[in-house]
């Protein structure tokens, strides 16, 4: 017992060893559930994996990427990312500014209401929108466009309306979250800057353009970055609308394509190659983002 106790006092509890024990859960999870899978997916991407032993096939899986389905998936993911950013950056900024103004009443009510959709799972939200975007003339989506004199649309069977349905679902769930990000950015802008601008006779628009937007720049970069990741990894929304393969790959994203290739067609090698391309997209964005943020300054904090 005494030996054990000495061992504990001397090694485990020393200032040299203790930190490693504190961080060990992360290291273990990193090695087992991130690094190992990462390496094995790289290896699988060079293999043909059938029912027998995996066979090395060189770049064959990567050559298969030049097909129409991959192009469709890449296009869908890119379009989705583009439109969600185009809407989910400017609009939440404006709403956050409105919520932050001292003229606004019922701020808490508005903020909480707009945030509420973020509490739902993609499946619950997706179920609602799937049937709200139903093809009958009486569905919510068709009644709304009916007000503007438009004919009913078969939303989920045509690529442009399908993209609209996906973006609406995303906007519904994320608007409140992005507003919270921008609000917290707005609240860190010192009030004196605005007061000084008032003395100089600046208009509201000038203040918005020359103070608010530049001060929000780090938050804007952050929100755009997570939206790029969120956009390119999107899958659950598409699954909620369509589940399986669709004619003309409507709504099929890169991750849906991985899922279909890997789990429906059991082509693990090719699915891994698709995964690697997604990883490259994410890594490139990550490097750009870390440079913009100044990662190493942050590490010293």
């Amino acid at each position: 017992m005494q030996i054990l106790k000495n061992f504990y006092e001397k090694y485990i509890n020393s200032k040299k060893v203790a930190p490693y024990i504190f961080v060990s859960p992360f290291i273990i999870v990193f090695l087992v559930f991130y690094l190992y899978p990462m390496i094995s997916t790289i290896i699988m991407s060079f293999q043909e994996i059938g029912f027998g032993d995996p066979e090395f096939v060189g770049l064959a899986n990567y050559k298969k990427l030049f097909n129409v389905h991959y192009k469709n998936a890449l296009l869908t993911s890119t379009n989705y990312t583009f439109w969600t950013i185009l809407i989910l950056v400017p609009l939440p900024i404006i709403l956050a500014v409105l919520l932050n103004s001292d003229k606004t009443k019922f701020t808490n009510f508005f903020r909480s209401s707009i945030f509420m959709p973020a509490l739902t799972s993609v499946i619950v939200a997706g179920m609602f929108f799937r049937y709200a975007f139903g093809e009958q003339a009486s569905t919510l989506a068709n009644s709304i466009i009916g007000v503007f004199g438009l004919e009913p649309i078969t939303w989920l069977q045509n690529s442009i309306p399908a993209m609209i349905a996906l973006v609406v679902l995303c906007v519904w769930r994320w608007m409140g979250v992005n507003i919270i990000y921008f609000l917290s950015g707005l609240q860190s802008i010192p009030e004196e800057i605005y007061e000084a601008a008032d003395i100089d006779g600046a208009s509201s628009w000038d203040k918005f353009k020359y103070i608010t937007i530049p001060s929000l720049k780090p938050v804007i970069i952050y929100v755009i970055t997570i939206s790029v990741f969120g956009g390119y990894k999107m899958f659950a929304e598409s699954y909620a609308y369509w589940q399986t393969a669709t004619p003309n790959d409507i709504g099929m994203t890169i991750v849906s394509y991985i899922y279909q290739t890997g789990f429906n067609n059991f082509n693990m090698g090719f699915a891994s190659a698709i995964g690697i391309t997604l990883l490259l997209i994410v890594l490139i964005v990550n490097v750009i983002q870390l440079n913009l943020f100044g990662l190493f300054k942050k590490g010293e904090q």
Binding site: F22, F26, S113, F115, Y131, E135, T139, M175, L295
Partner: protein
């Protein structure tokens, strides 16, 4: 009307429009949950209320349909969320604290890894993780759902940012008194980190309750499904039990909404951590 009143009215109108956009789906989900399921599947969700076809029947089927499968899903979701949240928050607090208060070799590399992994979508790794969980024998089990996400990098980052602000004098004083490194963490620092725990427990619970992609891959048999996977299984073209669809969805959202009503600020401080204030 003065210029000011017009401005205020416009602001309120704009915000009301977006609040309406955000809240109305909840209303229609609730209405749909009282209508016969095949009606929704066939006709979609419409704006009409049709009181004459509404009933509580759908809520009864949650208990009876397929020998109470919905209750199984609910139980699985509750247990997985509880275990995962408790484990993830505790382990991340250890790691975050270790990264914040100690100087040691490799610390910067680990911290950079945390930052990078915060951004890596696990969707890329679903195939190798699936193969790994077969190897480890955790496919189709709670452990399979929980283990890969037991130390979420976001939570580590959050605790690290919080622990950096803790008073180091307390640690030095405790060391002089002969307290061990772990006693310092459990008896002195953990109580000081209480607000961070509050925010992370709530955020992790929400992530865990709503988790979809990985549970979809790792859970294979019906009775092991969590709520999102179970609900998703109802919408397949060969799905049946449509009556459970919206009543089941409504009941699955209720716990999170109640939590949000009481702990709004924890949701918000948990969310705003990732780099905005960091």
């Amino acid at each position: 009307m003065s210029k000011n009143t017009i401005q205020v009215t416009v602001i309120i109108l704009v915000l009301s429009f977006f609040a309406f956009f955000a809240l109305s789906p909840f209303f229609f989900m609730l209405v749909s949950s009282f209508k016969p399921g095949d009606q929704i599947i066939k006709n979609g969700i419409s704006a009409s209320l049709d009181f004459e076809i509404m009933s509580f029947q759908n809520y009864k089927t949650l208990f009876t349909e397929r020998s109470g499968i919905y209750l199984h899903w609910y139980k699985n979701s509750v247990l997985i969320t509880t275990i995962q949240t408790a484990a993830a928050v505790f382990l991340s607090s250890l790691v975050g604290y270790g990264l914040a208060v100690y100087e040691f070799k490799g610390k910067n590399i680990i911290f950079i890894l945390v930052l990078v992994l915060m951004m890596v979508p696990i969707e890329i790794l679903i195939l190798p993780l699936y193969k790994l969980s077969i190897t480890l024998g955790i496919l189709d089990s709670y452990a399979g759902v929980i283990l890969p996400f037991i130390v979420p990098p976001v939570a580590v980052f959050f605790f690290r940012q919080f622990a950096v602000g803790l008073p180091t004098e307390l640690i030095d004083a405790a060391r002089i008194d002969g307290a061990s490194e772990f006693a310092i963490f459990f008896k002195i620092m953990m109580p000081l980190m209480k607000p961070a725990f509050g925010a992370m427990i709530i955020l992790q619970a929400m992530f865990s309750w709503n988790a979809f992609v990985w549970p979809l891959i790792v859970l294979r048999s019906n009775e092991n499904f969590t709520l999102p996977i179970g609900l998703a299984s109802l919408i397949t073209p060969y799905g049946n039990s449509y009556d459970m669809l919206f009543s089941g969805a409504v009941i699955s959202v209720v716990p999170i909404i109640i939590l949000f009503m009481f702990k709004q600020n924890s949701f918000i401080s948990g969310l705003t951590v990732g780099g905005v204030k960091g």
